[in-house]
């Protein structure tokens, strides 16, 4: 086997098992080059090992869960203790879920999460945000995320806003405040 034939086999064999090869024993140039290749391979493995624990922070998963629910027309599932409390609260949540579903059908783009922490007032909700009736309260020290979505103006009716009938089908931007569990807690209409 000449040098060319030897190196033609290297990519598949990755060099590690070739150190004892007959050609390497006879060819100092190939032996030196092979040592470099093997050292590089080991170094790359060490670098990969050093990076093996790196992963996306947990907030990415929380945002994606929220986006998944938005895409599938689901509002955050309330905890068991809140479920049967107010019928009207469930109705509002259902309307909001429908609004998100309608938005998904109109604009297939993902809601753009805004990576900032909202400063909360003493009651846990910043001015302008309306707490969702079936949502758990937000602890003032809790880190929340805000996701901007577009909803039909008719969704505002369910939260107490006056909306002219002729404007009900128009879209309006809204910020949805999400707790650390990824569930919607409050909403703020931007218009």
């Amino acid at each position: 086997m000449n040098c060319q034939e030897f190196w033609n086999n290297l990519p598949e064999a990755d060099g590690m098992g070739l150190v004892e090869h007959e050609h390497v024993a006879q060819c100092p140039a190939c032996a030196a080059r092979l040592r470099s290749q093997v050292a590089l391979k080991r170094g790359l493995r060490a670098l990969a090992g050093q990076m093996s624990a790196a992963e996306a922070p947990p907030r990415v998963e929380a945002r994606l869960r929220t986006a998944f629910r938005a895409y599938n027309g689901m509002a955050g599932v309330p905890s068991r203790r809140w479920r049967p409390v107010w019928t009207w609260a469930a109705a509002v949540a259902a309307m909001f879920a429908m609004a998100v579903l309608l938005v998904r059908e109109r604009t297939p783009q993902a809601p753009q999460p805004v990576s900032h922490v909202v400063e909360l007032a003493d009651n846990g909700i910043e001015n302008g945000f309306i707490p969702l009736p079936n949502a758990a309260q937000i602890d003032p020290s809790e880190e929340v995320n805000v996701v901007r979505v577009e909803v039909p103006r008719s969704a505002m009716i369910a939260l107490g806003y006056d909306v002219k009938p002729e404007e009900a089908s128009q879209s309006v931007e809204a910020d949805v405040m999400l707790g650390t569990d990824g569930l919607a807690r409050a909403v703020r209409f931007l218009d």
């Binding site: 030196a32 080991r42 060490a46 998963e61 986006a67 297939p108």
Partner: protein, 204 residues
């Protein structure tokens, strides 16, 4: 009792498309770390890596998700999306990313013989030198090293991610390793390396 076989990515994707959130989370947890690391190696930025990872999985939710299981694995497809997103981030203005042309005029190092066995590449300083060398590779060589050597993606998946034939993956990887050795030897033997430098641009 035998342990249950983990559900395949394709099976999870079918469940995801029918609205199964747990399937989405399972797939995310299985694949996110490799996507994150790939984006971090390629961009050099944790923030970009975070954004890219998020956008990769958001892309799976969109109706126009173009994954075709007959063309390759979901893993390769996800890396391909990540690659395009990283490029987009880089094009938006990250001047610290190496330009493709910086290495392209170097002589092909295949025939070079290195006396230094680079034996300490597994030590801390050696790993850091190697990280810098990977970072300095032109993009098309860096991405193949990150995929095949660091993330141990097989050539077929790498070819899908890079939108090129498997033969191109092999040849780029071969050349990339040569460039890495060349770069590392330059760091260790700067005087020797100086002889091989040639002016490429006049800044005056």
């Amino acid at each position: 009792m035998t342990p249950s076989t983990p559900e395949t990515d394709d099976a999870l994707l079918i469940r995801i498309q029918s609205g199964d959130e747990e399937a989405f989370v399972t797939l995310y947890r299985r694949r996110q770390a490799a996507i994150f690391r790939f984006a971090q190696h390629m961009s050099g930025s944790q923030q970009v890596a975070e954004d890219v990872t998020q956008e990769v999985f958001l892309a799976l939710l969109r109706e126009e998700c173009g994954f075709d299981p007959e063309r390759g694995t979901l893993s390769g497809y996800l890396f391909g999306i990540a690659r395009k997103l990283v490029l987009r981030h880089v094009e938006r203005g990250r001047p610290d990313v190496a330009l493709d042309s910086e290495f392209d005029d170097f002589s092909f190092p295949e025939l070079a013989v290195y006396d230094d066995p680079l034996a300490d590449l597994t030590h801390r300083e050696g790993i850091e030198a190697l990280r810098r060398a990977v970072r300095a590779l032109p993009r098309r060589y860096r991405e193949v090293v990150v995929l095949c050597d660091l993330e141990e993606v097989d050539y077929a998946d790498a070819a899908i991610a890079l939108s090129c034939p498997i033969g191109t993956v092999r040849s780029r990887l071969h050349r990339a390793r040569g460039l890495l050795l060349d770069k590392l030897n330059q760091e260790r033997n700067p005087r020797q390396a100086m002889g091989g430098l040639k002016p490429v641009r006049c800044l005056s």
